[in-house]
Amino acid sequence: MKRFTFMRLSLWIYLGVFFAYLLGPLVIMSATAFNSPAFPRMTPWECLTFEWFGALFRDERILNGIWNSILVGAGTVVLSVAMGLAGALMLTQIWPKLRATYYTIIIAPILIPGVVLGISTLVFWDRINRMLGLGADSWLSNGLFLTIIGQSTFIASYCMLVLVARLQRYDMALTEAALDLGATHAQAFRKVLLPFMRPAIASAAVLAFLASFENYNTTTFTFGEYPTLTIELAQKVRYGITPAISALAFIIVVLTVIAALANEASLRRKELVAAARQKATVAELESGRLQLPGFFRSNWAAAALVAVACVTVAVAGTAALYSPAQCIADVQEQKRLEAEQRIQELLRQRELRRQEQLDQQGEAVPAPAAPSGSSSGFGGAFAPGNLSGSSEAEPEAEQEPQGNSSGFGNVFDPNALSGGSEGGGAGD
């Protein structure tokens, strides 16, 4: 019995650790979107703010990146699903002896590194572009087409895998039945096979869009004049990040949760309706008086969806009304006081050191020991200054922490005293 509970406990602990590992970074990142410091961080918590969402929506490059990502995603969905469906159909109808070979060939793009696909797409289409005698800004090489083509090379394979799974459950006799009843091949495809494949096509489209949206390594070679969101983010990170990116991440997380819940809710609803139809009598079905279960009846996903939607609306409403100005002013005031204190302390220490130096001037050997009174930890770095001249150390002491964003924050930032938190951001 005890053993059993121990097993259970460890299982729960394992689950806890596992989910913390999975979701922890997302939670922390989301939280940083609401904290006021200019560098994304959760502690110390300063002020609740929504300004990073504002900053995000004022950022032209991010918005443009999102728009480009959507364009590329749409194109990739259309191309990949079409190619995936064609590939899947081929796979089910090809001569059995060729099937394994064909499968390997069509799956290969998934195994090829995205970087290679990106480079080869670029090189190949550049050749074609030149062969056609088009300029560098033609639609073939301006980035949009290249990115869609490049991403589709491997996303089509994902789509094919999804579609093949459904197609394997398709009874070819259904197509034959349609043909037998007078349908042309096109009609049989459109009226029988396509409706059957619709759920898988929807899954493949979502998968293709997400794969396209998050793709970086292929796109980085092909984006041209159409930098996607991932490209823009990567370029931004190179120059330092702000919580505006956390805000974007938070929005994506919320949208994902809402989409997942909506999907789950509609699936459950369908199941419940199907169950109700199974139980219904002919009379009920005919009269159309069949009582279908309500949307929220025993459908936790629908309830959760509504809850999330309500919270989102509430947060957005709060954001519109709430102003963190007072809090930020308080925090700044506090920071200023702290900084003043430190400066005072530093000045006092320097004064002390100068006194010591003056005392030791008569003696030949200077003591190399780090000044024990230094609170900053940089004491050792300033030691040479002790030998040559004391006045140089001062500007250094003021600039150094600016470059080091993490350990000391804005405490030493002279701008923090006057200009608020933006100085720290620029330093980052």
Binding site: A173, E176, L179, L181, A183, P195, E286
Partner: protein, 370 residues
């Protein structure tokens, strides 16, 4: 009934690689007939059906429907409708949409389609069920929907590929009658594929018995049952007792057979083989279980068989006696139950007699697997 469109197979060959699925089939199916292809699974009967419906191009020979060569004409252009073994109802369409699919293809309006669907649903005794999905119907109902869907296309020839095999026994027997009624009502040619000789005999005007790609015999039910052309046809259709032996003497339409274990017996040579059998030929003689009668003990002659009884059973309408037979197979005798007293013979030797016209001789050949 002669108004219907006939189907002719002329020297039809169908090969899959090295495998010959159908070997030189020649069949004439009269318009308005209920014609069955009867044979064990794998004998090529479904292949013939697919060749008629247009899903398979023959490797040789011709398929004619209403006298027109169907070469190069696709399944959607042939005046045939096929009822698939698994029915192949469209799972995502409602019953009425399924039934009127052939009208949708031609661009009929939803109102026309509903009207026609209601007529057909009445005909197949499923009124008011048009709004359901196929998955919400029972096996027999689905069966009837498949028939209605095929009939809605107004084919000249309806092809049925073992459509009753998935149903339970009671329903199967009911559907036999129903199919036959539908066929007589619509008056079109039905080509029916089955491995169930009961279905073939009860429903068909004519039957082709098939074995391993070859058509052994074509004839109506009585001819197939009473006058089999081959050992296979004799043993596949209905129950039969086989006596192996050699032809000792041919006497016109009859012959004397020297059997391996029951002495010399006289029987009729089946009509397909008359004039073709001569002395010394290996032959098989077949007598149906119900063609025997009990004879006085010890009677001898060329229409008496004596053997030891293994066991007996009472089936209600008949007493079945199982006796030691030829080649390890039991000899089965059915004595109709007419209220007579019936004593137990287990372990004894009994003597049976038969009328010469009820015993047929065919050349020795392959028997149907049990």
């Amino acid at each position: 009934m002669s108004a219907g469109v006939g189907v002719d197979l002329e020297n039809l060959w169908i090969r899959f690689g090295d495998f010959v699925a159908v070997r030189d089939a020649n069949v004439t199916i009269n318009g308005g007939d209920f014609f069955s292809f009867l044979g064990p699974s794998g004998c090529g009967k479904t292949t013939i059906l697919r060749a008629v419906s247009g899903f398979l191009e023959p490797s040789g020979g011709r398929v004619l429907i209403g006298g027109n060569d169907m070469k190069g004409i696709g399944p959607n252009k042939r005046p045939t409708a096929l009822i698939f073994q698994n029915l192949a109802l469209f799972p995502l369409m409602k019953v009425w949409e399924n039934i009127t699919f052939s009208m949708e293809i031609k661009g009929a309006s939803a109102r026309e389609r509903r009207k026609r669907a209601d007529e057909l649903l009445d005909m197949i005794a499923l009124p008011g069920q048009g709004g359901k999905l196929p998955s919400e119907l029972s096996g027999g109902q689905r069966q009837r929907v498949a028939i209605a869907r095929a009939l809605c296309a107004e084919p000249d020839v309806l092809l049925l590929d073992e459509p009753l095999s998935a149903l339970d026994l009671k329903l199967r027997q009911h559907m036999r009658t129903e199919l036959r009624e539908i066929q007589q009502r619509v008056g079109i040619t039905f080509i029916y594929i089955t491995h169930d000789q009961g279905e073939a005999l009860t429903m068909s005007d004519n039957i082709a018995v098939m074995r391993a790609g070859v058509i052994d015999q074509i004839g109506d039910g009585k001819a197939i049952y009473n006058d089999p052309a081959t050992a296979f046809a004799a043993s596949f259709v209905g129950e039969n007792n086989v006596f192996r032996g050699k032809v000792k003497r041919v006497m016109g339409n009859e012959a004397l057979i020297q059997t391996n274990r029951s002495g010399d017996l006289v029987a009729r040579i089946s009509s397909a083989n008359q004039g073709r059998m001569k002395e010394g030929d290996a032959a098989m003689m077949f007598i149906r279980p119900e063609a025997f009668a009990l004879a006085p003990k010890g009677a001898t002659g060329t229409h008496f068989v004596t053997a030891k009884v293994n066991h007996e059973e009472f089936e209600g309408n008949a007493f079945n006696i199982f006796m030691e037979g030829d080649g390890g197979k039991e000899l089965k005798v059915s004595i109709p139950n007419l209220g007579q007293s019936f004593e137990d013979h287990t372990g004894q030797n009994i003597t049976l007699e038969y009328e010469t016209k009820n015993a047929v001789i065919v050349p020795a050949g392959e028997l149907a697997a049990e």
